[in-house]
């Protein structure tokens, strides 16, 4: 009888709390959004199921070694890659091997849009400080505005490991919701005639330029912001594997098998880290609110800077301000949003390739910003 009672006390039903049920519901919503609405399924399915894994209730710290926060458990080992910032650089390696920088190389001035959109990071940093978060926590929250999941996890793992769960979930949720968050801001800040601006077609880029870019880009950006070395090093290395033309096998592995494996491990362990007892706090709710604001500010920053650049450009070289919104990174979703909004006003104006330039510049910009914040604040830890 005692054995049965003990078994019943160990079941999920006996240990369930409203928090667990809330988190399981959130996990189910993620899976629904991914499968039914096709919002970032490659991320939301692993994260959503990870949330389910992390929120099956059990009695903690009795030597079962099953919870993600229990030393020695399988999930704890997988979570190590998140906690020590191992997964994000590997994801960046794959992103580098996938990314074609031609659009950026043919019109390099669009790189500035990727810098302008990083205003979201710093605005959120200030907002988080005002709310009473510590400096390292505020910086980790601010990086959500970079709209780059791996960068957000990387910085959070260094500056505020206790907030990795909410920061990662907020970053990936809003990245999935880019098609919902960005369009109203883009329309609000642009006129119809601005949205109809046709940009000059991109020039063709030579093979040598494509090879030189990852080398020059890596050396310049990391000399300025060495904190971004793991991320930018892997990003540009991955790109060199792709563009060199002699390492096809390595490039293929980086952009297919490797990034898939790491995405699965990262998604599941980040999802599982949202254990209700640790995740459901007022801080998490504030992080979600700040995250939404940071995306909005970043989008507005990119669009407004594109309009500002137009003041100095000749009539033939005008920039369609919509592409400024793609500066928030979130590759390639924000570029797709730009294309969709642009086509609504002019069905023959294809902005996708133009938008890819600030989009990939945003990835570099957010990694540089993460490096700067890290170098500013690491001494406080």
């Amino acid at each position: 009888m005692e054995g049965i009672n003990q078994f019943l006390n160990f079941t999920g039903f006996a240990n369930a709390t409203p928090g667990h049920l809330i988190m399981i519901t959130i996990g189910l919503v993620f899976i629904y959004l991914a499968i039914k609405k096709d919002y970032e399924p490659l991320l939301l399915v692993p994260i959503g199921f990870g949330i389910l894994i992390g929120n099956v209730p059990f009695i903690e710290n009795v030597g079962l070694q099953i919870g993600i926060y229990e030393s020695g458990s399988v999930m704890n080992y997988l979570y190590y890659g998140v906690l020590k910032g191992i997964y994000p650089p590997l994801i960046f390696l794959g992103i580098g091997a996938m990314t074609d920088f031609s659009a950026l190389l043919s019109n390099p001035k669009l790189m500035l849009l990727g810098a302008a959109a990083q205003v979201g990071i710093f605005a959120t940093f200030i907002g988080a400080l005002a709310l009473g978060f510590t400096q390292p926590q505020a910086a980790a929250i601010g990086i959500i505005g970079g709209a780059d999941g791996p960068t957000a996890i990387f910085l959070a793992s260094k500056l505020a490991p206790e907030l990795i769960g909410p920061i990662a979930i907020a970053a990936y949720s809003y990245m999935a919701l880019v098609p919902v968050i960005q369009p109203p801001i883009m329309k609000l800040l642009t006129t119809k005639s601005e949205r109809k601006i046709r940009m000059k077609p991109s020039r063709s880029v030579s093979h040598l330029e494509k090879i030189l870019f990852p080398i020059i880009g890596f050396l310049l950006t990391t000399f300025i912001s060495p904190g971004a070395l793991p991320l930018l090093g892997m990003l540009f290395f991955g790109n060199l594997l792709k563009e060199s033309g002699v390492t096809k096998r390595l490039g293929d592995t980086a952009k297919n098998s490797l990034i898939d494996i790491v995405t699965i491990l990262l998604g599941v362990s980040v999802g599982a880290s949202t254990q209700a007892t640790i995740f459901l706090t007022p801080q998490s709710i504030m992080i979600f609110i700040l995250g939404a604001l940071s995306f909005a500010v970043a989008t507005a920053g990119g669009v407004m800077f594109a309009k500002f650049m137009n003041l100095f450009l000749s009539k033939d070289n005008l920039i369609n301000p919509l592409i400024g919104a793609a500066g928030v990174s979130a590759v390639p979703d924000s570029a797709r949003v730009v294309q969709t909004i642009g086509l609504k006003d002019d069905p023959t104006n294809y902005l996708l390739m133009h938008a890819m330039a600030p989009n990939v510049a945003g990835v570099i910009g957010s990694a540089v910003a993460a490096g700067i914040l890290m170098s500013f604040l690491m001494h406080l830890l």
């Binding site: 006996a14 790189m111 330029e209």
Partner: protein, 148 residues
């Protein structure tokens, strides 16, 4: 008989514990909005310096890439001039429109996929071997699958 009261008690205790953790006033106390926090945390200084450095990094990269492109284009121009093909470097040859790019890509795709009008006349019959194994034997199969 299972002690249902004990189970109900443990569920109630667990719910109360979680609710207390979620609504802990200590957590709320930690988050107090104040503009002084920005000043104390050097928020403005870090923001200004950080944003300027991000801009500088990408501006330097822009200038470097723009210069490299110019150097490479002028080098190619010189090479072509030396070989008497300077006309190849006209502006209209450099800026290829999206439509032309799409047509070239389509042609290459069809070529590499061999989806062309003239089929290859060399046909090869591949020998497919299915060696017998009791693991794949239909005789020992649980279900007899219908053959199409």
């Amino acid at each position: 008989m299972i002690d249902t009261l004990q189970i109900a008690d443990s569920i109630k205790t667990a719910i109360d514990t979680a609710a207390t953790a979620i609504n802990s006033p200590d957590n709320f106390d930690e988050l107090t909005f104040s503009l002084d926090n920005i000043v104390k945390g050097n928020g403005i200084l870090i923001t200004v310096i950080g944003y300027v450095v991000v801009f500088t990094a990408l501006l330097v990269l822009y200038l470097a890439i723009a210069q490299v492109s110019k150097i490479l284009i002028s080098r190619t121009r010189k090479k072509l001039e030396a070989s008497g093909l300077a006309g190849q470097m006209q502006k209209e040859n450099l800026d290829i429109s999206g439509e032309v790019n799409a047509a070239i890509s389509m042609a290459l795709h069809l070529y590499f996929e061999e989806a062309h009008d003239f089929e290859n006349t060399i046909l090869t019959i591949k020998k497919v071997q299915r060696p017998y194994s009791p693991w794949s034997s239909k005789i020992y199969g649980i279900r007899q699958l219908q053959r199409k």
